[in-house]
């Protein structure tokens, strides 16, 4: 039987505000335990929260970027449960009236655009961290992270495969980084994802019983965990069993999901409106102000790149994945005057280098200015594409310009027909048999001659010219 997976994601994005959501403490990471705390985030008796306006700005921008309705009136709620890393015994979150409702993001699935609906986006505070390691007979609590602002982005159950889920995550990350509200680092936990996964026989309308997956800390793990979970659920059903509603943890080492808690152990969070905070009213002016600060978003940029620079849709999509990369490309394209060349070099060599170094576009040691300089040399015929590979290696790993490298190493392309002709003559003289065979009709040997000429000129000969001259002389 054919099965259709039904997937919805709950993504937590940590906002890049300087201070926490309800107090003035810093959101810096890697500080000593409990160093970034105050009476408010420790939950001392009598303290009160005060909403960080920048956190509101950020969620409004996110709502605008993801086509949501930004509520003119929203409010916070308390989510009550006991845990040592939750100092107040409740988390301030949103329940009935979140800041953003509805909305969607578009992802490319099998070459076509698919819209993934959003249910809501709301603001909440992060909890602290329990520390168990290295402490004999005790656990400690670090509250530095308590009160760091989080945004929860809840999707509709619109996702139909593990790769679609990963694509959706990538898209969310791209948008959040574009509008500069979240650094999108999954490994460090500034972007976290829980997945609700169920399967149903193809064609059936009702959803199957879902499991909630947690602990997936990379795009790859999101995809793998969901893939595994889909297979696991199908196997249960095929065996005549029933999927149970539960929370499951992804174990990346074993590559499996494990049961964490069942439905009967589910908490009753006793949500109710937070009486210490007044409802937030977002005026038209506030919304307009935020709209005015919005940068061009990935989808709009992708369309514009394809149109303006005449590059393939796929290239445009890759190049707009991050704002830094898009900016990099656009600079290189404009400065070199050769947008297609620029796209080829960035899609190929630049991204390969970055991937090897595990670096982002903003960390690229080769500035778009120097890359453009090299592309200009190719365009003007000063160096060949092949020589350019050598030049690229050199300029990527140094601070030199392409002009400097070409001058230093004497890499200027030979475009003098006489000079090339001389080399061709030498090659033909050294390989009389091959010349004969060529002339007898084995024209595939042309490549051999080109290779020999290039070898003799150290790759500097203009390939087009070499081809032309060879054909003439061999004829």
């Amino acid at each position: 039987m054919q099965y259709e997976p039904v997937i919805g994601l709950e993504v937590h994005a940590q906002l890049k505000t300087k201070s926490k959501i309800f107090c003035g403490c810093s959101t810096l990471f890697g500080q000593g335990p409990n160093s970034e705390t105050c009476p408010v985030c420790i939950g001392m008796p009598g303290v009160l929260p005060v909403l960080n306006k920048t956190a509101m700005d950020f969620i409004i921008k996110t709502g605008l970027a993801m086509n949501c309705t930004v509520a003119p009136y929203s409010r916070f709620a308390r989510k009550n449960y006991f845990y040592p890393d939750l100092p107040k015994g409740y988390q301030i979150s949103q329940y009935e009236l979140p800041v953003c409702q509805g909305g969607y993001v578009e992802v490319v699935v099998d070459g076509s655009v698919k819209r993934i609906g959003l249910t809501r986006i709301h603001l909440e505070e992060d909890a602290g961290k329990n520390l168990h390691e290295g402490i004999e007979g005790a656990s400690h609590v670090d509250l530095n992270r308590t009160g760091v602002p989080l945004m929860e982005i809840v999707s509709e159950p619109d996702i139909r495969s593990a790769s679609e889920a990963a694509e959706y995550m990538r898209k969310l990350r791209a948008i959040l980084r574009y509008i500069d509200v979240c650094d999108g680092n999954m490994e460090e936990g500034s972007l976290r994802c829980d997945a609700n996964v169920s399967v149903r026989p193809a064609g059936q309308k009702e959803f199957g019983t879902r499991a909630e997956l947690k602990n997936m800390n990379s795009f790859k793990n999101v995809q793998k965990a969901i893939e595994y979970e889909i297979k696991r659920q199908i196997a249960i059903i095929e065996d005549g069993g029933r999927v149970v509603q539960e929370t499951r943890l992804w174990d990346a080492n074993q590559g499996i999901t494990l049961s964490m808690r069942g439905k009967e152990e589910a908490h009753d969070y006793r949500y109710f409106p937070e009486p210490d905070l007044v409802p937030v009213e977002v005026s038209k002016e506030w919304l307009d102000d935020m709209r005015a600060t919005m940068p061009e978003l990935p989808d709009a940029k992708r369309e514009r790149f394809a149109r303006e620079y005449g590059i393939p849709d796929y290239d445009a999509m890759v190049l707009t994945e991050s704002r830094a990369l898009a900016d990099y490309y656009e600079k290189a394209a404009k400065l070199s005057g050769a947008p297609k060349q620029a796209s080829n070099w960035i899609m190929g060599d630049v991204l390969r280098e970055l991937k090897n170094a595990g670096a982002e576009a903003e960390e690229c040691p080769l500035e778009p200015e120097r890359l453009a300089g090299m592309i200009k040399l190719i365009e003007s015929g000063t160096i060949s594409g092949k020589i350019a590979k050598t030049v690229f290696e050199e300029i990527y790993r140094s601070k030199k310009t392409a002009d400097e490298v070409v001058a230093e190493k004497g890499l200027v392309q030979i475009t003098d027909a006489g000079e090339i002709g001389k080399v061709i003559d030498e090659v033909m003289a050294a390989n009389p048999q091959n010349v004969e065979q060529y002339r007898a009709g084995k024209t595939a040997l042309l490549g051999f001659f080109v290779g020999q000429v290039m070898k003799k000129t150290g790759g500097k000969a203009n390939p087009g010219l070499v081809n032309d001259l060879l054909r003439k002389k061999l004829a």
């Binding site: 009598g46 107040k88 006793r270 009486p275 210490d276 905070l277 007044v278």
Partner: protein, 490 residues
């Protein structure tokens, strides 16, 4: 006349005229405390060292200013603070085992304002645990006695503050009021107590009981003192999002303008003969005559949803409390059970041992009301009724400027009389609770004595932000009578 029996404004006049020093004032009260506190038990913590230090500081300021020049409003005035307001470096226990040794690392906004105004702290006053109760019998550290009759309760939960003012152990005190906790003890002890409009006074540093109802206010010897205290503690605070950004008037400015033509409403639901103590009823009727004689116009008014106030209150207040008190879990500060098996066991034992029975009762009620499946029927419904109660007052205030009621249906009852029956205890606040639900200001002032020589209090209610009118009416009545000058024979 002894210094300790003076009102705040009388004491302040002597200090301004340099007839006494701040230290004189401080010593007058510490001596008085030494005499009567053993009988009354109004304080949980006395701060003699701090008292002297602050008095010396006040005298230094006093000596640095030319006579005739302006002084901070409370310079050299000895004041007591209810033990649910955080005072940096000074124990703040909420009369609970849970916080028996809790020393806040920060100062509440109200006490910071008192400091800025030059006050002298005498100590922290007794209360019902976490402000839950109407008799101060729910204190984990022993009940406070009513200075008028030591076998009776002083009211609650700000019983320590009211008793301390009544027994002249301070010039004034701060209390907090969630359902009547300033006004009912003020009534029981024959002093003046004001619960301001919700949002008038910052709650930052007030240990929360029910956030949407809690409000700090003064307990004083007369109405003028109350106005002076309000000038100091009122105003917007950036640290409390629910404190309103409305202009703070000078509450003493129009205090003495009289009440000629003022329209006063008497809600028919509150004046049912037989529903309240006969002496209380008689005192109220007499008060009405006094008000009429001062030129006020008395009108009957209606508050049709009054009957639902107590039920509504005990759902909303306990719901908020169940969440507000979740932080006392033994992890970070406060009491932690000595022995436990695991985390859950530590929570259970810590909270079972650290909280008293009334606090546990309310946490359970609130937890229940918020539980999934019950939320709509209880919490949601109660919020809707709260809106109706608010509307009752809005309606009433279209026709009248203030409303008067008895503060409490009975005078101070005997210690132990109602401890076995929580519902009877809850009824002590029947006239005060709807005021918190509506968020309007309410003041209690002495308006008579029962045949047992116990004080009776009259409650005056005003519109949102209408404290000036409430204080003006209270002042006019007070000046026409002498109830506020009566003292318990201690």
């Amino acid at each position: 006349m002894e210094l300790h029996s003076l009102t705040l404004h009388e004491l302040r006049d002597l200090i301004i005229k340099r007839e006494i020093t701040a230290k004189d004032a401080a010593f007058a009260y510490t001596r008085r405390i030494g005499q009567v506190e053993p009988d009354v038990n109004a304080f949980l913590t006395l701060t003699p060292g701090k008292t002297i230090e602050m008095a010396e500081k006040a005298d230094k300021i006093l000596n640095g200013v030319q006579p005739g020049a302006g002084l901070p409003a409370l310079l050299g005035i000895p004041i007591a603070v209810k033990d649910n307001m955080c005072t940096k470096g000074i124990k703040t226990t909420c009369a609970s085992r849970m916080l028996e040794n809790f020393v806040p690392p920060y100062e509440s906004t109200v006490t910071a304002k008192l400091q800025a105004a030059g006050y002298i702290l005498l100590g922290k006053t007794n209360m019902d645990e976490f402000a839950m109760g109407s008799s101060t019998e729910n204190s984990a550290f022993g009940a406070t006695k009513n200075p008028w009759d030591l076998s009776r309760i002083p009211g609650g939960s700000s019983g320590g503050s009211a008793a301390a003012v009544a027994a002249d152990m301070c010039a004034a005190a701060l209390g907090s009021d969630t359902g009547g906790s300033i006004r009912q003890p003020a009534s029981c002890c024959g002093v003046v107590g004001l619960k301001p409009t919700y949002g008038r006074v910052s709650r930052y540093g007030l240990v929360a009981f029910a956030s949407s109802l809690d409000q700090i206010g003064p307990v004083t010897k007369d109405v003028e003192d109350c106005a002076i205290m309000m000038n100091v503690i009122g105003g917007h605070d950036a640290l409390d999002s629910t404190s309103a950004d409305v202009a703070l008037p000078d509450f003493t400015a129009n205090l003495k303008d009289g009440i000629k033509g003022l329209k006063i409403g008497m809600p028919k639901e509150y004046f049912v003969e037989g529903g309240i103590d006969k002496d209380v009823y008689a005192s109220m009727m007499e008060a009405v005559n006094v008000l009429k004689s001062l030129g006020a116009e008395i009108k009957e008014t209606a508050l049709p949803h009054s009957g639902y106030a107590i039920a509504t209150y005990y759902i909303l207040a306990t719901s908020e409390a169940s969440s507000n008190l979740a932080r006392y879990d033994g992890v970070k500060y406060g009491y932690r059970a000595k022995e436990f098996d695991d985390l859950l066991d530590m929570y259970k034992r810590t909270r079972s041992e650290g909280f008293g029975p009334e606090v546990k009762r309310r946490i359970m009620l609130g937890t229940y009301a918020l539980s999934s499946g019950y939320y709509e029927a209880y919490y949601k419904k109660a919020q809707q009724v709260r809106t109706l109660i608010k509307r009752d007052f809005d309606e009433a205030f279209r026709d009248v400027d203030i409303i008067i009621t008895p503060t409490s249906p009975t005078p101070a009852f005997k210690l132990g009389e109602k401890t076995a029956d929580p519902l009877q205890m809850y009824l002590s606040d029947i006239f005060t609770i709807s005021v918190n639900l509506a968020g309007i200001p309410g003041l209690s002032l002495p308006c008579g004595m029962t045949s047992d020589n116990l004080p009776v209090g009259m409650q005056i209610l005003g519109r949102h932000w209408g404290e000036e009118t409430v204080l003006r009416a209270a002042y006019a009545y007070e000046q026409a009578t002498d109830w506020h000058t009566r003292k318990p024979g201690m």
